[in-house]
């Protein structure tokens, strides 16, 4: 049984990926808090309605080599996982970043707990 075929599992996996990518962006903001000229960036929010309607809506160019334009997103950006990154243009506020950090960690915790509950539900259904 492929769990990713079930929409809620696919969504949760996508959400975990997004939260991980966001944590990476926050880590970069915090590490560069004292770098002159560095401006805060954040990920664009994940749109779940769009996720539900279809996983991939944009057309991709066919490529034969990873160096080609339009190569898969994993080659383009590994740290942000292909998620869109936006520069806010403002200097790093550590307090704000700490707030985002704990928010992201809590969301991650929530999503993994939800994942566990869903697995337990399926296990109950198949009588384990």
């Amino acid at each position: 049984m492929d769990l990713t075929q079930i929409p809620i599992f696919a969504e949760m996996a996508k959400r975990l990926q997004w939260l991980t990518a966001r944590q990476n962006v926050i880590a970069q903001n915090v590490a560069n808090a004292n770098t002159p000229g560095y401006t805060t960036s954040d990920l664009k929010p994940l749109d779940f309605a769009k996720l539900l309607n279809g996983q991939q809506t944009t057309l991709q160019l066919a490529t034969a080599d990873p160096a080609h334009l339009g190569a898969p997103p994993d080659a383009a950006s590994a740290a942000t996982g292909g998620f869109e990154r936006a520069d806010t243009g403002s200097p790093v506020a550590l307090e704000e970043q700490m707030m985002l950090l704990s928010q992201t960690a809590t969301d991650f915790n929530f999503t993994t707990a939800l994942y566990q509950k869903q697995i337990a539900l399926i296990k109950d259904a198949i009588g384990h």
């Binding site: 880590a27 590490a31 590994a78 740290a79 950090l101 915790n109």
Partner: protein, 136 residues
């Protein structure tokens, strides 16, 4: 793409802030270091610089401590003819280190260091929650 990237970036921040603290402690330790030769310049305050470095192996912007600059000028003068560093008119130049400024800088370095540690803690907690999925 995984949480190790967040940890590596945070570790680079820890390293940079550690370097900063080293420079601050040099300044504070030498706050009274006058010249050994008559009329010479005393200890000059050091200033650390940071620059962001794009690490291709993890595809993320890490931070690195750059050059340490000597900030010259603005030396205070004190009349002390017996001091070995005094010039012919009896004045000795004092280092341009202001302990208050250094202490504030130290506080800032401490806070940023703590913030980087928080990132590592959060990433660790997220990894352990992911591992918990296997136990259910």
């Amino acid at each position: 793409m995984d949480l190790n990237v967040a940890m590596q970036v945070a570790f680079s921040g820890l390293g940079a802030q550690g370097e900063r603290l080293k420079v601050i402690s040099e300044n504070l330790a030498n706050a009274d270091s006058t010249s050994q030769t008559p009329g010479g310049t005393p200890y000059q305050r050091k200033l650390i610089t940071f620059r962001s470095v794009f690490d291709r192996s993890i595809d993320a912007t890490t931070v690195q401590a750059g050059n340490v600059l000597n900030v010259g000028g603005n030396f205070e003068r004190r009349y002390d003819p017996t001091n070995p560093g005094a010039s012919s008119d009896g004045y000795v130049q004092l280092p341009n280190v202001n302990p208050l400024v250094e202490l504030m800088d130290m506080k800032d370095a401490q806070q940023t260091y703590q913030a980087n540690l928080n990132v590592i803690d959060a990433a660790k907690a997220m990894i352990s929650h992911t591992l918990d999925l296997m136990r259910s």
